[in-house]
Symmetry: D2
Subunit: 366 residues, 4 copies
């Protein structure tokens, strides 16, 4: 952590900052007295320092964090890729994991048909979404919980695949676990809701963590820290913490209206560089348009993602799902091409594990 004092800061003010950091956090400082202002460098792991408290001290111009606060998810604190084993799937590292299935369970027939298509397409993990998080209360929010979970269990039984489902209401967690859900997903709208994240810190089931549509990497990995750290409200490490977190990048809000979210592909290699956690993408929800999904899925793999999740719909006789027919046909092809692409590129140009330090040596000029 570096503290930049204002131009007019007095030596006394600088001294007080140094004392505060030593008194509150037990860390030592050194100073560089420059031409028109002074810089204080904090030595030691400054992740615990609350920059808000320091920036309020008189004479402080700016507090610049050097070590990330989200240490649990950071490669600075764990060099090796985290690999998560679940129901036969191995997520992270050099593996490519594809999750597929219906965006929402609407009824038994639709759900089971969709599950079969996903299974046949060769996905590794089945998506069986019971709760459906929506913008408006007037949108469809899924079947009643028990009915939905029952169908999810059938989908899992029928395909034999590990099954992921989004948990919205933290009070439903036990029901989800009892139903045999193998992976809990946290959606964009819950991504910074700490009571839910803290509940997930107490279990041993893997969590797919999306970020909010207005969140940056620091906020996203700090949300992961709520699950991983097991630090309670009083700041005590209470002996738990769930380290099985899978990051899912889903794009952020931008001013461009032609795509649903800005699916910044450079975030894939960047996040793999900054975090040891498995990283997947979401070509369906980020694009919001079927005609974009296939190529975005390939781009995610080419960028070095550890996989992706995507919507697979079935469409029986009903007119409503006519339009989605092509997805059936395409699902198998998308999965197959993704695996070929992944095999072809291998690890080339991916900075992870022990190669991180080397990869970070220098930036392309602007």
């Amino acid at each position: 952590m570096i503290i930049h004092m204002t131009e007019g800061a007095t030596p006394d003010q600088t001294e007080r900052v140094i004392e505060r950091i030593q008194a509150d956090y037990g860390l030592l400082c050194e100073t560089i007295v420059g031409y028109d202002s002074t810089v204080i460098g904090v030595k030691g792991i400054a992740g615990i320092v609350d920059e808000g408290r320091i920036s309020e001290l008189p004479g402080v111009h700016r507090v610049i964090r050097i070590t990330e606060k989200y240490k649990d998810a950071s490669r600075n604190f764990q060099k090796e890729d985290t690999i998560i084993e679940v129901g036969g799937a191995s997520i992270g590292g050099r593996n490519l994991t594809i999750l597929g299935g219906p965006c929402a369970i609407e009824n038994e027939a639709q759900a089971l048909a969709s599950a079969r298509i996903a299974k046949d397409a060769g996905v590794d993990v089945l998506r069986a979404f019971v709760d459906k998080s929506r913008t408006s209360p007037y949108d469809y929010r899924g079947l009643p919980l028990e009915a939905g979970l029952e169908i999810a269990a059938q989908m899992k039984a029928e395909t034999g695949l590990p099954t992921a489902s989004e948990l919205i209401d933290l009070r439903h967690l036990d029901a989800f676990l009892k139903c045999g859900i193998d992976i809990i997903q946290v959606g964009a709208r819950s991504a910074q809701y700490s009571p839910l994240l803290e509940e997930l810190s107490r279990i041993d089931v893997p969590v797919v963590l999306k970020h909010g549509l207005g969140n940056d990497l620091n906020e996203w990995l700090s949300a992961a820290a709520f699950i991983m750290s097991g630090v309670d409200r009083e700041g005590r490490n209470v002996g738990h913490g769930n380290r099985k977190v899978i990051l899912c990048y889903r794009g952020i809000k931008s001013f461009e209206v032609e795509t649903r979210f800005a699916n910044d592909i450079a975030m894939i290699p960047r996040v793999r560089l900054k975090s040891h956690l498995p990283l997947i993408g979401d070509p369906s929800h980020s694009s919001g348009d079927k005609s974009l999904v296939e190529r975005v899925a390939y781009a995610l793999v080419a960028a070095g993602a550890n996989g992706y999740e995507f919507d697979i719909h079935s469409n029986p006789a009903e007119a409503r799902v006519d339009g989605a027919q092509a997805v059936n046909v395409e699902a198998a092809r998308i999965v197959e091409n993704s695996r070929r692409l992944h095999a072809m590129l291998g690890d080339v140009g991916i900075a992870s594990g022990t190669s991180v330090a080397a990869a970070a040596l220098g930036a392309v000029g602007s």
Copy 2:
């Protein structure tokens, strides 16, 4: 609702869309067959139509919503300003309501001293924040719940002011109500967490609703609809719904790093035009910098907000709060100037209530 068919859409596809809308929602359509494509207009209140379902039909290019989905909060459905009475304060309409107090209760002495400063400065509502929503689990998150609530009750008793507090964990709602909290605040990180919003639809206490840092107006007012509508998961109106919602605009994420959030001042008159709900701002959290707060507070009032909430800190001998000293001195001045400004401008140029239609007649050329 307008449905724009693709250029190559067949008459059969157009017919199917019209049938679907009539069958599922009981609404009639008319079509305009243009040079290269067809447009379908849905007649009647299309707020209930799920555009996602329609946009999946073959031949549909784009679904354009004409009536807002967030009808509960919309001026299209209630012309008159909603005015909320709470503990002697009257929020909305022509009133200016100022909420002030400490950002977090740290201990009894700091909290009571801050409350007194706020009271002396002339605020209408006291802020007494027990839970503190944070980005990282390593940040300070407030005193233990019971201790915090006890101090909040003391603050209320000492000042005699209606008291607002942020609720994060929905399981704490009863404790908040039992403690006598008069206004429940929903923060940015919980702003789209529907289980919390639905709990608040069951009470009769006013709610200050912020929006998420990545939310637009549609998402924000749709969140309000979760509180106001009392529609349950199955889409049934279950006989409740809390219409006492106060909107709090707090700026959105942008690429500009010089301010914490983009505090788009044009949103103040825009939201007042679109919604009948009281609208306040937050000069402290939107700016993130004490040297900006005072003028941003004035700008909010000048723009036509119904008030604002701001952080007032006490600072006893302890060095830590030296930096905030000026806030004590300034709080009374800020409140006083805000009231003078509000009195001076009155209603001029504010489009609300019956003047809405007139105000919306035409846009300044670009």
Copy 3:
């Protein structure tokens, strides 16, 4: 074009809008009178209608454009991919074109060495940038024009490759053409500067057109229309217009600080769907970080781009360029893997030419 009247609009106001559109643009209208407001549909090619003028008429609530205004670049007006031939390279359609070379010509030795590396790596087009557009006047802005152009000519002669260079000052155009520059690039800072774009409408040399860092697709393709249309200030078609425009997507500004720009990969398939023009990416400038470039380049190809341009630096003994050494080594590998990837995926999932209408039939549910 659809015109949505306000709720309180009178029949007279509706009539006046219809008359105005017929009188000024010779287009007919139809209306749909809905439950609470009226919608006017304009029949015919409404691309020429100035929505600003219409939206100022009394009673108009919103003008919704159905046909794009940027018709020159739109697939609605040209179904087949534009393919541009230049010095042996064929850009667009099913071809993959890679442009590489130094970001700025610093001196003869560095420039020629970089050009040789690019040639050896197998690029199709050489980048030889003489003018360097910078944020600050204190940044390095390139050699004097004549000296720079002379070296650019040497680079072209030495490699035998078609050569691209960025034109900033419109008064330098003749010197660029005389020097033998084969492709003129327009950078982000000039992307909406119409006098420059209009100069380029008068030549027959291909133009690589970036978009500004705050531009959306409509603004970008409208800038292309300045080059392509040959419409002058008075709106007259003055008999020229340069249709050899290559779009270069380079990411947009966002709130995420971990990457330089948000390189929204879904824009690659989206822009190819909306425009017939060749589309390339820029992994170097969009990422701003050498450790991200390789995988972003692969992602661009996987997403369906027609190619990309990237920075290749030479680095003689001087310490300064040590850090960039890896780029030499990597350049050939990046080009080779890109070509393998492109060959492997072919056209699968790319919606272009006659397949556009089919691809646009329906959107993945949200």
Copy 4:
């Protein structure tokens, strides 16, 4: 300037950075060797250091600028407000300056009528816009140059007010000056076009400088430096430089579609803190909607802007301008209320001139 070395950086790499900075820029460094990485502090005015060059050196993780590069516009280099005198108007400091007039000169009658309304409303500076910068070549771009300038001269003669006009094509500068234009405006689309900015560095006429819709403060004030510094392409100070720059904030692009641009009101006090240049706003173009303009204008004054510019339209019998009628009526009221508001608030809470250092002492906690 602070240079943060990577964790694995060797002492040799650190040494090389220090040598490079001393050799190239004559500046000394000090280092702080921390727990897991080293920080280098550059002493002296590091504004001249090209961070791009330094960040490419091996072992460098991040270069953090402490002193702004846009020194010409920075309060760090000039404490006192710049005040610009032009035709009787005094812009900057404690003055409130209002610019008004038609957005485009359409014909003599409309232009002169609009000018009279602006004059009667009490504006300080007349807007007389001849060139009209547009997104699309198919939009109205103004009368032919000579005809437009002739009318502009009439408008100035008739009102006796100093007159501002936007210059797009740098080749028109002489004609503008010959016509008697008193203030040259640079619009958003030209805001980073350096050849135009450099032309304006050679004249002594005040310049209103907007920022691009994707520009941050650093880019905006760096654009001002192109006008102010008189530094040429080779980095030589060539004896000129136009310091009469008026900044005009006009909002930035955001994901919110309810307003045209995000008019971040906190930027008003922030920019006044960072720069000594006069700062005005643009309620018309930032909002894009007549029903928002009045209150946004008040908010700009309340936030501490030195003024604003706004569109005033005349509207003879012609139907087209009926909708704008209210603007005539409102213009005088808006100007009058703005002046009352400015008088009422005075300097309170404005951090400028000598009070800057004090105002910057500490930030409100988050």
